[in-house]
């Protein structure tokens, strides 16, 4: 293939590396009113009174809005296709505040300094309620976090807000107890994963204006422009047709911008005042007042026969929704397929969970979306089971891993693993890491031990039966192509990859195509970039749109030349009759066809969705050094092999893998989430929330095996999320090998490891 498989640099690289205006903040109109949010100091309280008079008297203050001023229709900020599986539990401003940092009022002023000055003058009297700051105390607590009567669900997700249950899920196949009793080895474990913060370097921000037609234009750093448009329409009580969402370059997302955040406030202010406004979060607001991964406590039982066949997986989680139930149900359910689905010899499964409301910051979407969470206990337990059986942990996995053509116990009736070079990937990672040639536990020096540990992961590629992407490619009058997509490149290179796939079909060089993305007035509908969907779902739509355009160009040429389409060759640049009698450049063709009587602009259009969500596969091997006196763990090397199907851009895929693994290492080792006893998030900045620096870990070796997934374009699956999933359990398992201790809580900071070694 000409373009698919090429390691092109990104189509937008030059602009973003030049420092020229590219990101939301760079385009804020002069004189936009600045919004500052007055925030609750209490984790749980009801507003008794708000006095905004002093704030309003500050010169330069335009408005102060409170819950009394906003529409009273509840909605969800979760970026999901309608009807969302998240509770409608949110108002633009609410009389009840549910975490330290929850919004109380919007202060709107001519500049930041004035807004801050006025914000301090807003006087609020609270009826402070007893908060719930521990997931174990949530269910049936006398404090009811969402006691409002107008909270609603689009369909049942096992929620019971009066009991503080945001949602719950239970799936049982077979008889867990009977099968466990028949197992020769059973491992039981309890593990905890923390509410990690996505920490995109660009915090949440947007600005709004009113256009010449009186419509609301919201420019936002979001992964989900179409979903946000719909949410804003509901929240403001206006038609979605009155709203335009534009996404400029995003400075990182990782799922954080799959949940609306700053948009409702900013849109409300501009709609109300008919003046431009801007809202930019500082780092502390970004960490506290957006959404994080859901913290989950897991109990797991896993059983195997003496010859190493894993027959039972029994998992239960009690999970923290935080104050609002964004993505609470879908992250929980997504975890099932992508973890338990790995194991193909099971006879019984239970996967169950309750996600409870607490007075913490809200959970949401974070790369991995439930799979990372579920794979943490599962892959830990598999390695601990291997230790019990006295079997090599990779051998145990190889023996049990799902094969192509097989149906996992948790899959749907007609669902099979259609593609995957899983044994090949496993063999390759063993080769890279020297798995069979060296000890998995060794003494490095007097105070350090080394260990090797492994973990596997699945993810999906888009949301099966739900994600629908449309792509349009127009032939412009100069013979150039423009691709229009509603997907949202946030740095991963989606724009480049989509263009590669379209150019592959049309045949033209990359330079002859341009891409325009994520502007709801211009591009066709796309749910946005999340759920590892862009390459597989939108990419397939791009391929089909290119095919549609190609067909139209050839058909039109055939008509003009009064010949049949099979006698025309077209390489994207030139149309030519096979017999050489006619040659026409695409420039000349386009120019001729776009202007004049009975002419038209040609455009290819395609909409695509998939009945399946083919899982990419990854196996990771962590090598660690453990300081046996202090518990400090250093990941000295990480080896990974990924099967994401056909690699459209091997270089960009490689960087995705390295980046995902590193984020996973942060979750594994450094990214602590701490609340004060009064419910304040202490780890609300980079001084306390430690994302990995470039000195915190050793080399990362990544390789790929390329299976061919038949359902989408060019054999692709996804890469974006699967790559974060193995770091935590692989490091856990390497520590287990190194020092014989299982560290149950993330992150595995020195003190946790030290304690685990003491308890061993």
């Amino acid at each position: 293939m000409k373009h698919v498989g090429q390691s092109y640099k990104k189509v937008d690289a030059e602009t973003i590396l030049s420092g020229r205006a590219a990101y939301t903040e760079d385009f804020v109109p002069a004189h936009a009113l600045v919004i500052k949010v007055k925030r609750s100091p209490h984790p749980f309280a009801e507003i008794v009174s708000i006095d905004t008079s002093a704030a309003m008297k500050v010169p330069g203050v335009e408005a102060v809005f409170t819950y009394k001023d906003v529409p009273q229709t509840r909605f969800t900020l979760a970026g999901q296709t309608y009807p969302e599986a998240s509770a409608y539990d949110t108002l633009i401003l609410d009389k009840v505040v549910r975490y330290v940092g929850d919004a109380v009022a919007f202060v709107v002023a001519v500049d930041e300094e004035t807004a801050l000055k006025a914000e301090a003058l807003v006087k609020v009297t609270y009826d402070v309620k007893k908060p719930i700051l521990d997931i174990h105390e949530a269910i049936d607590n006398p404090s009811i976090i969402h006691n409002e009567e107008d909270l609603s669900y689009n369909f049942p997700v096992g929620g019971d807000p009066k009991r503080n249950i945001a949602c719950s899920y239970k799936h049982v196949v077979g008889d867990v107890e009977v099968e466990l009793a028949a197992c020769d080895y059973v491992h039981e474990g309890k593990y905890f994963d923390q509410a990690t913060v996505q920490s995109a370097m660009e915090t949440f921000r947007c600005f709004s204006t009113i256009d010449q037609f009186g419509r609301l234009v919201v420019t936002s750093s979001t992964q989900i422009p179409f979903h946000v448009r719909r949410q804003l329409a509901r929240a403001l009580g206006i038609s979605a047709s009155k709203i335009r969402l534009i996404k400029p370059r995003i400075g990182g997302g990782f799922g954080s911008k799959q949940t609306a955040c700053v948009e409702p406030a900013c849109a409300f202010v501009t709609w109300k005042l008919k003046k431009p406004s801007v809202l930019i979060y500082d780092r502390s607001e970004a960490n506290t007042c957006s959404t994080t991964r859901h913290a989950r406590e897991w109990t797991i039982r896993i059983g195997a026969t003496k010859d190493g066949f894993i027959r039972v997986i029994d998992m239960y989680t009690l999970s923290d929704a935080g104050a609002y139930g964004y993505h609470a149900f879908t992250t929980l359910t997504a975890g099932e397929h992508k973890s338990i689905g790995l194991y193909g010899k099971l006879k019984a499964v239970r996967y169950e969970g309750d996600v409870v409301y607490t007075n913490h910051s809200s959970g949401g979407a974070f790369r991995g979306y439930g799979a990372t969470e579920a794979l943490w206990p599962l892959e830990n337990a598999v390695s601990e089971l291997a230790k019990k059986i006295d079997m090599d942990e990779i051998e145990l996995r190889e023996k049990n891993v799902l094969r192509v053509g097989e149906r996992a116990l948790v899959f749907g009736e007609d669902e099979r693993l259609e593609s995957g070079l899983i044994p090949e990937a496993i063999a390759r990672v063993k080769e890279l890491s020297g798995w069979d040639k060296r000890p998995h536990s060794w003494q490095i020096d007097e105070t350090h031990r080394g260990g090797l540990g492994a973990a596997m992961a699945f993810q999906g590629s888009g949301v099966a039966k739900i994600d629908v992407a449309s792509v349009e490619i127009r032939l412009q009058e100069e013979g150039q192509y423009t691709l229009y997509t509603g997907s949202t490149d946030m740095g991963m290179g989606a724009n480049t990859v989509l263009q590669q796939m379209a150019c592959e079909v049309l045949g033209c060089p990359m330079a002859n195509m341009h891409i325009y993305e994520a502007d709801t007035d211009v591009v066709p509908f796309d749910p946005g970039s999340y759920a590892s969907s862009t390459t597989y779902v939108t990419g397939t739509a791009a391929k089909l749109a290119a095919e549609d355009l190609r067909k139209k160009i050839i058909e039109l040429a055939a008509k003009r030349w009064e010949t049949s389409i099979d006698r025309i060759d077209f390489d994207g640049l030139e149309l030519r009759m096979r017999d050489g009698s006619q040659v026409l450049s695409i420039e000349a063709f386009a120019e001729r066809e776009t202007c004049g009587v009975n002419r038209q602009q040609l455009a290819g259009f395609a909409t695509w969705s998939s009945p399946t969500s083919p899982p990419p596969f990854m196996i990771g091997v962590a090598e660690v050094s453990v300081d046996t006196e202090t518990g400090k763990v250093v990941p000295t090397h990480f080896y990974a092999v990924v099967d994401c199907g056909t690699l459209v851009n091997p270089m960009l895929a490689h960087v995705q893998a390295e980046g995902g693994i590193t984020q996973g290492l942060g979750m594994a080792l450094t990214e602590e989430v701490r609340y004060s006893s009064t419910g304040r998030l202490e780890t609300n900045n980079f001084m306390h929330y430690k994302v990995p620096t470039r000195q915190d870990f050793g080399p990362i070796t990544v390789d790929f095996v390329e299976s061919y997934e038949p359902s989408g374009a060019f054999g692709v699956k996804s890469i974006g999320e699967v790559v974060i999933n193995t770091s935590c359990p692989a490091v856990h398992n390497a520590i287990l090998q190194a020092v014989g201790a299982s560290v149950p809580n993330l992150p595995m900071i020195p003190e946790e490891v030290f304690m685990a070694m003491q308890e061993k």
């Binding site: 690289a13 590396l17 370097m201 660009e202 990182g252 740095g491 960087v655 980046g659």
Partner: protein
């Protein structure tokens, strides 16, 4: 109270109005120098890295008042070299979201002036104050190596 200050930025003299407590980051962005960004408020991320007299500093924590009499350099002022470094990074896919990259590039170009042939460890050491959430740093290192090797020729 706003002060009238003379600043030398990228070889050009500017007269700016700034409050006594204004940080250089704000002043530079007001001059349209968008390569300088704010990422953290706590001196941890390095997005706002610029040069004062050739030394890398955090413009989010550097008072504009103090910049008088010094030579300020941002990515925009390093034109060809910055473009070449950008090209080296892009050729390794190391730009990703790009938000942290321009600040990191300022550190890289400062390092080269101090040490033309640093080891990987020295590179990591010098750049530890530049956080990146996308890349995992590996591709950055490959791009930086490419740039240093080419510049050393």
């Amino acid at each position: 109270m706003s002060l009238t200050l003379q600043l030398n930025v990228n070889g050009q003299l500017y007269t700016v109005q700034a409050a006594p407590d204004e940080m250089l980051l704000t002043t530079l962005r007001n001059l349209g120098l968008y390569s300088v960004r704010c990422g953290c408020d706590t001196t941890n991320c390095g997005l706002c890295t610029i040069w004062v007299d050739g030394e890398i500093i955090l413009s989010c924590a550097y008072l504009t008042v103090r910049a008088q009499g010094h030579t300020i350099t941002t990515l925009e002022g390093l034109k060809e070299e910055a473009a070449f470094l950008g090209e080296c990074l892009a050729s390794e896919g190391a730009d990703q979201c790009g938000y942290c990259t321009t600040g990191m590039m300022m550190s890289v170009m400062a390092l080269r002036r101090k040490k033309a042939h640093p080891t990987d460890q020295e590179i990591k050491d010098f750049l530890v104050g530049n956080l990146c959430r996308c890349t995992g740093y590996q591709s950055q290192l490959r791009g930086i190596r490419k740039y240093l090797e080419a510049m050393a020729q």
